[in-house]
Amino acid sequence: MCVSTNELKEKIIESLRLQDVTPEQIEDEAPLFGTGLGLDSIDALELVVMLEKHYGIVIKDIEEGRPAFRSVRTLAEFIEAKQPAK
């Protein structure tokens, strides 16, 4: 299954309850944490829950998830690689 970055951005906005932020304002390559979207450690936990809830992906080791959370693009690639083939 191909994960649309736009759909993923919508899910990020919804799960993190970001106000006045649209998918268009989030760049595919921009860092999710620190600069860019400016997310923090609590947001990281919220994203882990979002991945499990919406994509059935369980991240057990934070080191495994770290590269995936660099940007929307890397997260989309991670979801695609982890999702079971249908």
Partner: protein, 198 residues
């Protein structure tokens, strides 16, 4: 030495949240933190022009974080459990953290669960002991329907804020101005009189 005055006061309810422009992170906060932060923002004070290490925050929360606690525990029944973000707000003093982050305040802070009658005396004490130059006082009353059912107090969602400092510009406190309602009434009446005189 200058007397202690209330330089600004505000009151907000949940009805004010819909039109609040508080940035992208405001939405993730619980109701208590949103109201507390909005009430402080409504003071209209530019804290960045002051020494932020000398500004204290005193907050009272009438029912602690009960409303959020209930929401969090109800979340246990949801798929994947409760929101991790919500967990951060199951601490009654979390709103003080949000206020401190937003205005980069690093002065002393105090959180009281229960009546707001202690706020002004405690804030006054902080300033008189020279631990702070000014103190933000915030009184939050957040009783959701679920919390109301549990503790038998009618639902309410409001916050009052006031800024106590040494100075000449403001409303001098009298002995009977101990709770936040009377302090806000004093400031409102003073503003009204000041505006009428113009």
């Amino acid at each position: 030495m200058n007397k202690l005055v209330i330089s600004a006061a505000s009151a907000v309810t949940d009805a004010d949240l819909a039109t609040a422009k508080m940035g992208s992170r405001f939405g993730r906060m619980d109701l208590l933190s949103q109201l507390a932060l909005l009430s402080v923002e409504s003071l209209g004070i530019e804290f960045q022009t002051m020494d932020c290490s000398r500004i204290g925050v005193c907050m009272s929360v009438c029912a602690g974080s009960l409303a959020t606690d209930i929401q969090y525990w109800k979340g246990q029944r949801e798929v994947c459990g409760p929101s991790p973000t919500l967990f951060a707000y199951t601490l009654p003093s979390s709103a003080i953290g949000e206020i401190a982050i937003r205005y980069r305040l690093t002065g002393p802070n105090l959180c009281f669960v229960g009546s707001d009658a202690v706020l002004i005396p405690e804030a006054r004490d902080l300033i008189e002991r020279n631990e702070a130059d000014g103190c933000i006082c915030v009184a939050c009353n957040v009783i959701t329907a679920a919390a109301s059912e549990l503790i038998g107090i009618p639902p309410k969602a409001q916050a009052r804020a006031a800024f106590l400092m040494r100075g000449a510009n403001g409303f001098a406190l009298a002995e009977n101005h101990r709770d936040m309602e009377s302090v806000c009434a004093l400031a409102c009446a003073g503003e009204f009189a000041r505006n009428s005189a113009r």
